[in-house]
Amino acid sequence: MANYNSLYQEVILDHNKKPRNFGAIEHPSHHAVGHNPLCGDHISVDVVLGDERIDNIAFQGEACAICKASASMMTTAVKGKTRAEAETLIQEFLAMTTGKLSHEACPNIGRLAVFAGVSDLPTRVKCAILPWHTLSGAFNAVETTSTEAEEDPMHAPIGDA
C-alpha cells in the first residue's frame, strides 16, 4: 500500500496553496478545458506557443490539491520548452503516474517525480493527469477534453469515484 504522506509532500501542498501561473492569458494560441466528470473538477489551460517555444502558459479552475499542484508544476516545467519537449514530458508523466514506468526511467521528469506515488491510488491518478491531458488537448486543438473521453489515447477507465 502506498504511503500517502509521501504524496502530500511539502512541494505539492505548497503548489496547491500558491499555484504558479494561475489565471488566464488574453490571447492564447492554444486553449483547452479539461473536465473530470467523476469528481466535477475542471481546469482550463492557456498556451502561447511561439515559433519555437512555449512563451507563456497559465491554468485556472476548481480542483483538488493533487490536480492543482500537478497543473502548477506542469506550467513551470514546460514554460520555455519546445512543443516536442513538452509532449515528451506529457508522455513520461502519464507513464509514471499510471505505473507503466518508474520515475527513474523518465529522464525528463525531474521534480515531478513527487507524483510517482499516485500510481498506487487508482482513484487519484486522474486528478494528477487532468492538467497534462488538458495541455495535450490544447496542443491538438481539442477544446474540451475529459478524463473519460473514450477516443482519447489517455483514457484509462477506473471505478466510479
Binding site: M1, C39, C64, A65, R124
Partner: protein, 419 residues
Amino acid sequence: MSEIQAALKYNSPSTFDVDGIRADFPILKLTVNDKPLVYLDNAASSQMPQQVIDRLVCYQTTQHANINRAVHYLSEVATSEFEEARRKLQRFINANEEREVIFTSGTTDAINLVMHGYGRKFIGAGDEIILTTLEHHSNIVPWQMLAEEKGAKIRVVPINDAGELLIDEYEKLFNERTKFVGVMHVSNALGTINPIKEMIAFAHARGVPVLVDGAQAVPHMKVDVKDLDCDFYAFSGHKLCGPTGIGILYGRAELLEDMQPFKGGGDMILSVTFEKTIYNTIPHKFEAGTPPISAAIGLGAAVDYLSEIGMDAIAAYELDLLKHATEQINAMPGVRILGTAEHKAAVISFAVDGVHPHDIGTLLNQEGIAVRTGHHCAQPIMHRLHVPATSRASFAFYNSMDEVDALIAGIRTVQKIFT
C-alpha cells in the same frame, strides 16, 4: 440467543450492545494502512454479518438449484427458500401480500421497472412528473428518458438551505396534468428525512401515484408501506447488510397487475407461442429469467438479523451517533456540515475550508477511515448548494462512538496538513 437475551441486548440506545453487534461483522476486524478500519461509507454499501454469510454458504452448499422449474429435491428446496425470503421481506416492510414484493437487482432496477411498466403505459405527451432536487440520479434519469420518449415534463420540488423540501412548492406543482410523483425517503447526500407520508396523502387526494426511493431509509428505520400508503417503494439489499445484486420493488397489487412487463423471458410467462404470449401473474410477471436466488435468500437472512436487533433500536442508536458527530463537527472551526434538516438520518456531508473533498478522502483513508467523496450521484443538490462535491460520513448501527471520535481526529489531521 434467547428472545429475552436479545431483547436485553438491544433494548435501548443506552444499553445498545454495539460491541456485541460488531463481533458479528468479520470485516470490521480489518486494519487499513495499519489502522483499525473505521467504515463510514454505509450509505454507499453496508457490511454483512456472519449470520448472512453463513446463510449464503448454507444455500450454496446444500440448497442450490434453479427455481420454479424442475420437480427434483433441490429445485423444490431452492424455490421454497426463495419464496420464504419474499415473505420475510413482505413482513419486514409490512406489505399486504407477498405478491406485492418483487425481486429486482437493486433500487435502480426497481425504479426502471416502474418507469417501463407503469410510466410507458400511463404517462403521455404533456403529462407531468414531479421529482425533487434531492433525488439520486437513479430517480431522475429514468424519468428523463421517459419524458423525452413521451413528450412529458418533469417538475422539480426545490429545497431550502438546510436541505429540506419546500412542501408549499411541492403542493403548488400539482395540476391536472400531474401523473406521477417520485420522491426519495431519505437523502443519500444530506441525510434529510422527507415527510413522505404527508406528500403521499397530498398526491393521492389528487389521484396521483407515488414512488418512494427508500434505499437510504429501509436500513435505518422501521418502514411500513401500508402506513405510508405509497404505491411503489424501492430499495436495495446491499445497503441492508445483504448481498449486492438484489433489491426490492414493493408495488400495490392492483397497479402491478395493470402494468406491462419490463423484461421479457423465462419465468414471466404462462404460455408462449409465436402468435401470442400470455404473461404470468405478479410478482413473476416482473421477474424474467433466473433471479439472483442466493442473494434473495441472503437478503431474507439480513432482514431477520436486523429485525432481531429491532429497527426502532437501530434508529434510536444511530440518532445518538448522529447527534454526537454533529455536535463535535459543529464545534470545529473551518468545518461546515451541508444538510442541516430538522429530521435527519445518520449521514453527515461536510466541507473543510481550503481542502478539496478528494484530498480529505485520501488523507482519511490514510487513517483507516472510509468516507465517500464526490457528488454522491446527486449533482442537482451539489449545484443547489454551490459545491462541486462533499465528503460524506454515513453511519450504521455497528459504528461505535469511538469511531465518531476517530473521524473527528482524522479531520483535525487533514486540517493540520493543509495549514
